[in-house]
């Protein structure tokens, strides 16, 4: 199979879905000629024109809300928020409008929109350009939350998100854009939302992660194997819907869990995973359920501080080793 980057995979998904379905259109700041701050939409303006690749003024609340309206009227908008940190401005539209429409108004109200955005640190962009805010949206019934960690997943999940009839928060990661991997060129290859991926099978400990942390967990698992520790890595892919079955099956096998979360510890989605495991397979646990996360601080711009803050391959390795060796 071909090897392409995460960025290219996302672009392919957009391009294929726009080609298949004329109702799909894109909206966001500087997504046209500029191709988006991270280049994901580069070239799409030329292919589809300014009506379907629509540069917006800097008005996150306005254009996210407009995408909801467009979805209700039968379009399938994919909007880009340049950095996840700015999703703060669109919270009301996503939470009080998009998320609630179907539950309250029933089948007549369908809101098939995707909000693409990019979270995460590692690029020294500082406190307001490095946040991972996915946890908030997992606490909002009616929103799906997706966070791919590989090029193949990026493409397959974005296609599924676009085809989904619900509002989807689609979280990309700065450090993943350049990563390369094998990706199907078949426009029919879609990865369903709600199925986790066992990125690596193992027996001694389960590492649960999503987005960039999945990639780091995978590398940590390699390192662990050199120490004779067999780690299973579960890449959640989507947080909502959550594939709890895959988690449970793994816990029943390994009896030890390390949840790895990039965002600050308190109130992150790792807590939810921990709570779910406690509620469902408590008796299978042989060791405390642990989380690895950024401490409860904003991420700094300074490389030295940012590096010190974020979980990474070696910290995952250490935490998992301790957990297994007790």
């Amino acid at each position: 199979m071909r090897t392409i980057s995460y960025t290219e995979a996302l672009r392919e998904a957009l391009q294929e879905e726009m080609t298949i379905n004329p109702d799909v259109f894109l909206m966001g700041e500087d997504i046209g000629i500029y191709g988006g701050a991270f280049g994901v939409t580069r070239g799409l303006l030329d292919k589809f024109g300014a009506e379907r690749v629509r540069d917006t003024p800097i008005s996150e609340q306005g254009f996210v809300g407009a995408s909801i309206g467009a979805a209700l009227a039968g379009s399938r908008p994919v909007v880009e928020i340049m950095f996840m940190d700015f999703i703060t401005l669109a919270v009301d539209q996503m939470v009080n409008q998009a998320a609630k429409l179907h539950y309250v108004l029933g089948k007549q109200a369908r809101c098939p929109m995707v909000l693409r955005t990019v979270g995460g640190g590692g690029r020294c962009y500082g406190p307001t350009h490095s946040q991972s805010l996915e946890a908030w949206f997992t606490h909002v019934p009616g929103l799906k939350v997706v966070a791919p960690s590989t090029p193949a997943d990026a493409k397959g999940l974005l296609k599924a998100a676009i085809r989904d009839d619900n509002p989807v928060i689609f979280m990309e990661h700065k450090l993943l854009y350049g990563c390369r991997g094998e990706v199907s060129g078949d426009p029919d290859t879609v990865i369903p939302l709600g199925k986790a991926r066992i990125a690596r099978a193992g027996t001694d400990v389960t590492l649960i992660a999503w987005s960039w942390m999945s990639a780091e967990a995978g590398r940590a698992a390699e390192d662990l194997s050199t120490q004779g520790i067999s780690a299973e890595v579960i890449d959640l892919r989507s947080l909502i819907p959550l594939d709890i079955d895959t988690i449970i099956a793994s816990v029943k096998k390994t009896h030890r869990v390390l949840i790895v979360q990039e965002s600050c510890r308190t109130g992150g989605f790792g807590a939810e995973i921990s709570a779910r495991i406690s509620e469902t397979v408590f008796d299978y646990l042989d060791a405390p359920l642990l989380r690895l996360a950024t401490p409860d601080i904003p991420l700094s711009a300074s490389p030295s501080l940012e590096r010190a803050a974020m979980p990474d391959r070696s910290r995952i390795f250490e935490a998992a080793r301790k957990l297994v060796e007790g």
Binding site: I68, G69, A70, A73, D92, V104, P112
Partner: protein, 312 residues
């Protein structure tokens, strides 16, 4: 024309009934009556075509009725019954009928402005010929959503009409204590779109302005901001003692009340006499009575359905 008159009567009696039911403790939750604003709702909706979109507000029963909503199902929703438009899930502020193009009330002041804008955007991209009408209040015009949305619409010349019902108050706050200029319509200039002030208690005037705005929208020339000067005779929501305004002011506005005024027009034009006025009032009353009966005898939603339908 008599239909419009009847529609206004239904709206008025409906709201009065709802207020009564609330103060009697028959209904729970909250409600925002649009008593006195009938000419806006009916005037605006009277110029729309089938398929056009409307977004409403927290004060939306009248918009819904004027757009052809079934008073029985609206009342049932206010009662929280399963026969309501939202099967009891939404309540007074959150019901819709998409077949009528009525996309729903909104609990968030200003929350529907981007959404109406987006329906117009979709209509434009898909070239459906539909237009959108967005109702909101004077208070809502101070929300960021107003600014961002009207800018998008002005920029992209979207087929949308923004209808600001300036009823002088946002809850207890007089418009002069919230907006430092006399006419909200003048804000349209910030977005390169026309702003029009109209007497919102004059149904025919509202129609005239709206007709022009809709033609403009349909022709691709872009949005219009229509400010309808009106007054809410009732309190903001149940329990409002209206201590923030004088009884004199209220009395003054009663003399300008839209239904009475339109009746005078109809009579003058020979379209109405005492007899059919009485008949229309009887009909309106019957509609509201039937709505209450329907709502009362409808069942509550089944708690077993509680978790259904979060996702499509």
């Amino acid at each position: 024309m008599r239909n419009w008159y009847r529609s206004m009567l239904v709206m008025r009696l409906f709201e009065e009934k709802v207020e009564k039911l609330f103060s009697d403790g028959v209904i729970r939750g909250t409600t925002h009556p649009a008593t006195g604003q009938e000419a806006v709702a009916v005037g605006v909706c009277s110029v729309l075509k089938k398929g056009d979109y409307i977004t409403s507000t927290h004060r939306g029963h009248g918009h819904f009725i004027a757009r052809g909503g079934d008073p029985r199902r609206i009342m049932a929703e206010i009662f929280g019954k399963v026969t309501g438009y939202s099967r009891g899930r939404g309540g007074s502020q959150f019901m819709a009928d998409y077949r009528l193009g009525f996309l729903g009330g909104n609990g968030i002041t200003g929350g529907s402005i981007p959404i109406a804008t987006g329906t117009a955007l979709s209509a434009k991209i898909k070239n459906t010929g539909k237009i959108a009408v967005c109702f909101f209040g004077d208070g809502a015009s101070n929300q960021g959503t107003f600014h961002e949305s009207l800018n998008l619409a002005g920029l992209w010349k979207l087929p949308v009409v923004y209808v600001c019902e300036n009823n002088l108050y946002a809850m207890s706050t007089h418009v002069d204590k919230a907006i430092p200029i006399p006419h909200i319509a003048d804000r349209a200039a910030s977005y390169g779109i026309p702003g029009v002030v109209v007497d919102g208690n004059d149904l025919l005037a509202v129609r005239e302005v709206m007709q022009a705005a809709c033609i403009r929208a349909r022709s691709g020339a872009g949005p219009t901001l229509v400010e309808c000067k009106t007054y809410r005779h009732s309190g903001h929501s149940r329990g409002d003692q209206r201590i923030y305004r004088s009884r004199e002011e209220e009395a003054l506005w009663l003399t300008r009340a839209p239904i009475r005024r339109f009746r005078a027009v109809l009579i003058k034009r020979g379209a109405l006499n005492q007899e059919n006025d009485r008949r229309l009032r009887r009909e309106a009353r019957a509609i509201v009575t039937e709505a209450v009966r329907f709502a009362k005898q409808s069942p509550d939603p089944d708690p077993a359905t509680l978790e259904e339908g979060v996702f499509a």
